[in-house]
C-alpha cells in the first residue's frame, strides 16, 4: 500500500507521561516519527501534540485508534497535507562577513526570510515555511557555510469548517450531565 505523510493531532489532558504513552504506539508499529511538536492548546488544561509520520492508510487508522484508546487522550485525528495549513520554522546561523556579500542578501529576499539578530561575528536568519522551502534555503545558504541550522516540528491547522474537538467536548459535557444528573 502507498505510503504518504500524515499529520496526527492529539488532544490530551495535561498528564505527565503522556508523550511516552503516545510514542510507544509508534515504536511498537516500527514507525519513525518525522516531526513532533507539543504545546498547551487554546483550551485551558488541554495539551496538543502534532506528529507527522510516513505510513499507509491502513496503518494510520490503526495508530490513531491505539492512541485514542489511551485513557488521558481526549481525541486523536489525522489529516493529509491538502486538508491542512501547516508550517515549520527554521533558524540559520551564518557568519556576518558572508552576509555582507550581496548575493546572500538577495537569497534572503528571495526566500522572504528574516534577519533576527546581527552580531559582529554571526547573523541569525529565520524562515517559516514547508520543509522543502526551509531546506532549499539551507542549501543555498550552505554554499556560504551555515554554522548552525535547526528546524521545528510541523504545526498545523485544519481547513475544515468543523471544529472537531469542540464538538467532541460538547458531546462529552452533555454525557457528563446525563451521568451526574442521574
Amino acid at each position: 500500500m502507498e505510503k504518504k505523510l500524515y499529520t496526527i493531532t492529539v488532544f490530551s489532558e495535561n498528564t505527565p507521561g503522556l508523550l511516552n504513552q503516545i510514542t510507544i504506539v509508534f515504536t511498537r508499529r516500527q514507525l519513525n516519527i518525522e516531526t513532533l511538536s507539543v504545546s498547551p492548546s487554546s483550551i485551558e488544561g488541554i495539551h496538543k501534540f502534532t506528529i507527522s509520520v510516513y505510513c499507509d492508510a491502513d496503518m494510520i487508522e490503526k495508530v490513531i485508534k491505539q492512541i485514542d484508546k489511551r485513557i488521558d487522550v481526549i481525541k486523536a485525528y489525522y489529516n493529509v497535507d491538502e486538508e491542512l495549513v501547516y508550517q515549520e520554522i527554521a533558524l540559520y546561523k551564518v557568519s556576518t562577513e558572508d552576509l555582507l556579500d550581496s548575493k546572500l542578501e538577495s537569497i534572503i529576499r528571495k526566500y522572504n526570510a528574516r534577519i533576527l539578530e546581527v552580531d559582529r561575528v554571526y547573523t541569525i536568519i529565520e524562515m517559516t515555511g514547508h520543509t522543502e522551502e526551509t531546506q532549499q534555503l539551507f542549501e543555498e545558504l550552505n554554499k556560504f557555510n551555515v554554522l548552525q541550522f535547526v528546524r521545528s516540528g510541523r504545526i498545523s491547522i485544519t481547513k475544515s469548517p468543523i471544529e472537531q474537538l469542540n464538538d467532541y467536548l460538547d458531546k462529552r459535557e452533555i454525557r457528563r450531565k446525563e451521568i451526574e444528573g442521574k
Binding site: N20, E61, Q66, D68, R172, I179, E180
Partner: protein, 562 residues
C-alpha cells in the same frame, strides 16, 4: 469527613469499591498500608501469596470467575517487577485488576533510592492506566478512577504507584465515586445504520457462522448471544477465552477455533458466507494466515474496542458497542430462519476428527494414559459443572478440548500471553471467588514448577483447589514442536522432576500418582471425596501430541490430524 492516614484512606477507598479480598506481599515501602490493614482484618481478607507474580495471577483468577476487580498490594522495586507478567497477562486478556505498588517517598523519586524503580514507565505500556499517588489528598480520586477504568468498557489492569509519604500523611477523607472521565469513552456510541447493515447481511446469509470471544463473557451477554444465534439458527464456535460462554452441549455450539481447535469450525471459517465475530479479536492463534482467512465471507465484527476493528482482519461491517446491547438490537431485526443443511454439513468434519483424533485420545484402553482421557475423566467426575483453570502448554489445549462446561465464567486460562505458571495462583484466586464451586486446575510438570511455591498459599489458606498434574517429564508443547518441525532435535525440553507427591506432602496437601486406568479412577474418587486441596499426578504418555494442529502462520484449513 474523617481525618485518617493515606494508608487508611486507601483501604477505605477500596472498601467503598466493594473489595473484600486482596492478594499481596508486603515490604518496606508498603508497610504503612499493611499496618493499616491490621485494623481492617474483618473487612478485608488479605491472602499472603508466595511471590508477587502469584498475587497478580490470583487476582486474575478471582476477577475472571467473579467479574469483579481483582486487587493486589505489593512493595516497590522487586515487588513491582515481579508483577509485570501478571499485569501484561491481564492487559492482553482484558482482565479487570488494580495493583497497588509501594513507592519510595516523593522526595527520593528519581534518585535511585533503595528499591526505587520507574513503575509508571515500566507499566504504562501494559496497563490501561497507571498513576503515581504523591499526595494523600489524591487517594480518593485516584482509587475511584482506577476502579472505574479497570472494570468499564474493555476491562484491563490499572497500577496505582503509592508513594510512602502519601501513605503516611494525614488527610480529611471522604470516599469518591467515578463514573465519568472526559477523555475516556468506555463504550462507543451505537450506530443504528451498522445494526441494520449487520442484520441485513445475516438475513441474506445462506451459510452464516458466529465466532464467540471473551467479549460475550465480559459483557454478561450469554443470554443475548443465544437469542441471537437461535433466532436465525446460526452455528457458532468459540475462541479459547470464549469457552464456557455457551455450554459444551449447546446444540449450536460447534466447538473450538484455532491452532488446536476443532476441525469443523476451522474449515467452516473458509466456507461460510457471513462470518460474525462477537467480542473476539482475530488473534493469530485463531486466524493462522490472515491473507487466506475467510476471504470468501462478508465479515461482521462486534466489539467494544474500536481499535480491534480491522486490526488483524478487515471488517466489512463493524458494530461497535457492548455486545449485550448490540446483539439484541440486531436480533430484533433478524428474520426467523433455519440453516439445518448448513449446520449438518459440520458433522462430516466432526466425524473425521472423532475418528482420527478424539477416539484415540479418549478411548484407547491400553498403554500409557492419554492427556485427553485424564481431562475427560475429571470433567465427568464433576458432571461438567466445575471451574476449569489451566496452565500453559499441552495440558492447556487438552483441557480446553476435553473439559466440558455447563456454566459460564468457568474457563480460566492465560490466552494472549500464554503464561506458564499462571495455573496454580489463578486457581487460588478462582476458588476464593467461588468457594462453593469445584475448581480444577490442569497443569504440566514444567508450569507447575514455575509457581509451585503457591502450594504454601494453599496450605496456609486451606484453599481447596484440585490440581491435576499431567506429568510427561517434558516441556511437552515445545517437545511437540521440536518433534514436528525440528527433526526431533529435543533441545532443552527434557525434565528431571522431583517427586511431586512428596512436594505436596511437604505442604500437607493430599496427593497420589496414577499410572493405570484403574489408578486414575481410584485417584479421581479420592480427590473428590472431600473439598480439600489435592494434587493428582497423572503419568501420561511421554510423547503425546496435541492434535489437530494448524502450524503457526499457515492457512486455517491446513490442519494436521496425525
Amino acid at each position: 469527613m474523617k481525618e485518617v492516614t493515606g494508608s487508611e484512606a486507601l483501604l477505605l477507598s477500596i472498601i467503598n469499591e466493594g473489595v473484600d479480598t486482596i492478594f499481596g506481599y508486603p515490604g518496606g515501602t508498603i508497610i504503612p498500608v499493611y499496618n493499616s490493614l491490621y485494623d481492617y482484618k474483618n473487612q478485608l481478607n488479605h491472602i499472603l501469596m508466595r511471590h508477587e507474580q502469584g498475587a497478580t495471577h490470583a487476582a486474575q483468577g478471582y476477577a475472571r470467575v467473579s467479574g469483579k476487580v481483582g486487587v493486589c498490594f505489593v512493595t516497590s522495586g522487586p515487588g513491582v517487577t515481579n508483577t509485570i507478567t501478571g499485569i501484561g497477562d491481564a492487559m492482553i486478556d482484558s482482565t479487570p485488576m488494580v495493583v497497588v505498588t509501594g513507592q519510595v517517598g516523593t522526595s527520593a523519586l528519581g534518585t535511585d533510592a533503595f528499591q526505587e524503580i520507574d513503575v509508571i514507565g515500566i507499566t504504562s505500556p501494559i496497563t490501561k492506566w497507571s498513576y503515581q499517588i504523591r499526595r494523600a489528598e489524591d487517594i480518593a480520586w485516584a482509587v475511584a478512577r482506577a476502579f472505574y477504568i479497570a472494570r468499564s468498557g474493555r476491562p484491563g489492569p490499572v497500577v496505582l504507584d503509592f508513594t510512602k509519604n502519601a501513605q503516611l500523611e494525614t488527610v480529611n477523607f471522604e470516599p469518591k465515586k467515578c463514573n465519568f472521565i472526559r477523555s475516556y469513552q468506555p463504550i462507543p456510541d451505537i450506530n443504528n445504520d451498522k445494526i441494520k447493515l449487520a442484520a441485513e447481511a445475516i438475513n441474506n446469509a445462506k451459510k452464516p457462522f458466529a465466532l464467540v470471544g471473551q467479549g460475550v463473557t465480559l459483557g454478561n451477554a450469554e443470554k443475548e448471544l443465544k437469542q441471537f444465534l437461535e433466532k436465525a439458527d446460526i452455528p457458532a464456535a468459540f475462541t479459547l477465552l470464549g469457552e464456557s460462554a455457551m455450554e459444551t452441549d449447546y446444540p449450536l455450539n460447534r466447538g473450538m477455533l484455532g491452532m488446536h481447535g476443532n476441525v469443523a469450525p476451522n474449515m467452516k471459517t473458509n466456507e461460510c458466507d457471513v462470518l460474525i465475530a462477537i467480542g473476539m479479536r482475530f488473534d493469530d492463534r485463531v486466524t493462522g494466515n490472515t491473507a487466506t482467512y475467510a476471504r470468501q465471507a462478508k465479515i461482521i465484527h462486534f466489539d467494544i474496542d474500536p481499535s480491534e476493528i480491522s486490526k488483524n482482519v478487515k471488517a466489512d461491517i463493524s458494530v461497535l458497542g457492548n455486545v449485550k446491547d448490540t446483539l439484541p438490537l440486531v436480533t430484533n431485526l433478524l428474520n426467523k430462519n433455519s440453516h439445518r443443511e448448513w449446520i449438518a454439513s459440520f458433522d462430516e468434519y466432526d466425524k473425521k476428527e472423532y475418528e482420527k483424533v478424539i477416539s484415540k485420545e479418549l478411548e484407547t484402553k491400553t498403554g500409557d494414559l492419554k492427556m485427553g482421557e485424564v481431562v475427560r475423566a475429571i470433567s465427568d467426575a464433576v458432571d461438567s459443572s466445575a471451574v476449569l483453570v489451566t496452565d500453559v502448554g499441552q495440558n492447556q489445549m487438552m483441557a480446553a478440548r476435553y473439559f466440558k462446561f455447563r456454566q459460564n465464567r468457568s474457563m480460566i486460562t492465560s490466552g494472549g500471553l500464554g503464561t506458564m505458571g499462571f495455573g496454580i495462583p489463578a486457581a487460588v484466586g478462582a476458588k476464593l471467588a467461588v468457594p462453593s464451586r469445584t475448581v480444577c486446575l490442569f497443569c504440566g510438570d514444567g508450569g507447575f514448577q514455575m509457581t509451585m511455591q503457591e502450594l504454601g498459599t494453599i496450605m496456609q489458606g486451606e484453599i481447596g483447589v484440585k490440581i491435576i498434574l499431567l506429568d510427561n517429564e517434558w516441556l511437552g508443547m515445545v517437545r511437540q514442536l521440536q518433534e514436528l518441525f525440528c527433526e526431533k532435535r529435543y533441545s532443552a525440553t527434557k525434565m528431571k522432576n522431583p517427586d511431586f507427591c512428596e512436594i505436596a506432602k511437604a505442604y500437607g496437601i493430599k496427593s497420589c500418582r496414577v499410572t493405570t486406568r484403574e489408578e486414575l479412577a481410584q485417584g479421581v474418587k479420592e480427590m473428590f471425596a472431600d473439598d480439600k486441596a489435592y494434587v493428582l499426578v497423572a503419568n501420561v504418555e511421554k510423547s503425546g501430541l496435541v492434535l489437530p494442529m494448524t502450524p503457526a502462520g499457515t492457512d486455517v484449513t491446513n490442519i494436521l490430524l496425525e
